[in-house]
Subunit: 365 residues, 2 copies
């Protein structure tokens, strides 16, 4: 005898969230959050750099809101242990499922806070208030969350869309120069994979961007959100098309891990972008012109475009194998044929590249 | 200037999964899993009790499949540290997103394995092969996953529906008597909240169930899956109706935690069910007749129906406050008006009960 029972999981309805972009909006944001999310208890996650920069005080004013300050700031804190500390702090504050997590900070804060919200008592909402170029361009939008294990990046994670995103480009004024420039690599990446017009814009306006003029920063933020939003709406669960956002990331993640997080994410991705360009030329998918333009803009951002001497190729191959997008133990790569156009093979946006080609390119980087 | 961008999250389509119930099907299951999930690498999560009982060997035969054996078996291992060890073992085996997690064991194994699958590299599928009465009745179906923090139960968790469930009631033959009986409490709970006919059936057939006759065990498993499936289909995300499955659990979870996991889940829930019954009588929602029938069936199962002396009421109140379903720091309770009928107030299935009523009942338990 074999009995059977089918369990039907109903469709979940379409949803949406708003991104608001402005200058100097942080100080007046809390009343709006209270208006939009009044029925929730609030819990803020931020880091010590954000506190030092005065952003937390600007957001909360005199309000007494339970807050977890991640220390030290930076990628080394983006791990499962920090996520556990956040969850246990929420428990100690007797917070329940009626909690709204407010992530105030860079990509690291957003990724951890998003993950903590997603797994806290089977999920509570999170809003993102990104304060760095990388978070405003990329990580605050799209619902990816993740923390690192002791072995690799984002070993733990879920898709968990934010309930709202608020971008105040004034927070970028206090960002240290290296962080500011490295974060712009994700903007360049958006242009490379999706929009040659945006690439032209970045090329023409890079000086103004680097001077941190609010008007142009708002435009950059808006352009990033439009590109990323369009991609995420098409493929929220990263089945195929969304993978184009991983351009430069397969090697980038490995380089970042190999550096012991001595390199910033954007710096590692810059190296990964150059590596992708070299692979494209090696495989005769693209001519050298696009890569030259990309290299120039990255050099102007003052991010590395070659592999630092101390990163042995052997480690990189091993780290590439641990990439979370690995299928059959060797990850696929996103490649372009020209700026704004991603290469597809058999309808796939992430394609196989033979390991010996990758090793050859790593030698040349 | 304030720029805005709306991100639309498309609806996710309806889905379904199959539960297959039989006797002695474990030995022939792997070829079916390979047929249904051929493109995935497999990773088995189980515990040392399941290995000792011979179930792992029966499932895998001579096949070499990477496996994580949780040790010690039991609720004390159901924590975030174990989940981390599982994830890192998967990484060390170079497993990627094309991995199928196979959970073979009781509720603890299913909850941890489901959680690990849900958060591994932002989610991989899991199939459940429950080997205990509690897991076959309840936890393998419905997509709840969770692990404990150092402070409370299921502090970490997500909803993650299994890709399939295979129930072999022959695995219950080797289950120790205490586990077997405690697990049947969830079956009694299903009957209490959803189906008085099923309650009659359990009352009439309890001796045969306790003799572990395969035919009646298959019927019990099927009845449980139908009841639970119907509830989960109506309200997969536990917005309201699904809460009826938490009958007896608000106090049950607190009792379980207070006992330092000296009590089994089902034993603690049995006490919680009696507590709910006493609250119903105290609030004049129900007469004493139903509670008497429930008490008799629980006594026949040989599970506790009174609070052990060593559990101080004070701790319980504090632990109840940490319940994950807490709204405004004090959780709601599921109550019935008669066997098979849940009480509703303002269309809500989980209702407020004043703390002093709960304290009074705890004194009386």
């Amino acid at each position: 005898m074999m009995l059977e029972q089918e369990i039907k999981i109903p469709a979940s309805p379409a949803a949406s969230y708003r991104i608001k972009i402005g200058t100097d909006i942080l100080g007046s944001l809390w009343p709006q959050i209270e208006a939009d999310f009044g029925k929730y208890s609030k819990f803020v996650v931020t880091d010590e750099n954000v506190v030092s920069a005065g952003h937390l005080k600007k957001l909360l004013g005199q309000r007494d809101v339970p807050t977890f300050v991640i220390s030290p700031a930076g990628e080394t804190s983006k791990n499962i242990d920090t996520a556990i500390s956040i969850i246990e702090t929420m428990e100690q504050a007797y917070l329940g499922r009626d909690t709204l997590v407010v992530a105030l900070g860079g990509g690291m804060v957003g990724d951890i806070a998003g993950f903590a919200a997603a797994v806290f008592k089977r999920g509570v909402p999170v809003i993102q208030i990104p304060t760095t170029t990388v978070a405003q361009a990329d990580s605050s939008v799209g619902g990816k969350t993740g923390v690192d294990s002791s072995l690799s990046k984002n070993a733990f994670g879920v898709f968990w869309h934010p309930a709202a995103v608020y971008i105040d480009v004034a927070t970028l004024a206090t960002l240290d120069d290296r962080q500011f420039r490295a974060g712009l690599v994700e903007s360049v990446k958006h242009a490379i994979v999706a929009d040659s017009e945006y690439f032209d814009f970045l090329e023409s306006n890079l000086d103004t961007v680097l001077e941190r003029k609010p008007d142009v920063l708002e435009k950059v933020a808006h352009w990033n959100c439009k590109i990323k939003g369009n991609i995420v709406e098409t493929d929220p669960g990263e089945q195929n098309f969304r993978r184009i956002l991983n351009y430069g990331h397969t090697i980038g993640h490995a380089v970042e891990a190999a550096s012991g997080f001595g390199l910033l994410h954007g710096e590692a991705v810059a190296i990964g972008i150059i590596a992708a360009g070299l692979i494209e030329i090696e495989l005769q998918l693209a001519g050298p012109g696009g890569l030259e333009r990309i290299r120039r803009i990255l050099e102007k951002l003052n991010v590395p475009v070659t592999l630092p001497d101390d990163l042995a190729d052997k480690d990189l191959i091993d780290l590439i194998k641990r990439d979370k997008k690995a299928v059959n133990k060797w990850p696929r790569f996103v490649l372009i044929t020209e700026i704004g156009k991603v290469y597809r093979r058999n309808e796939q946006y992430a394609v196989e590249v033979a390991p010996d080609v990758v090793e050859k390119i790593l030698d040349r980087l």
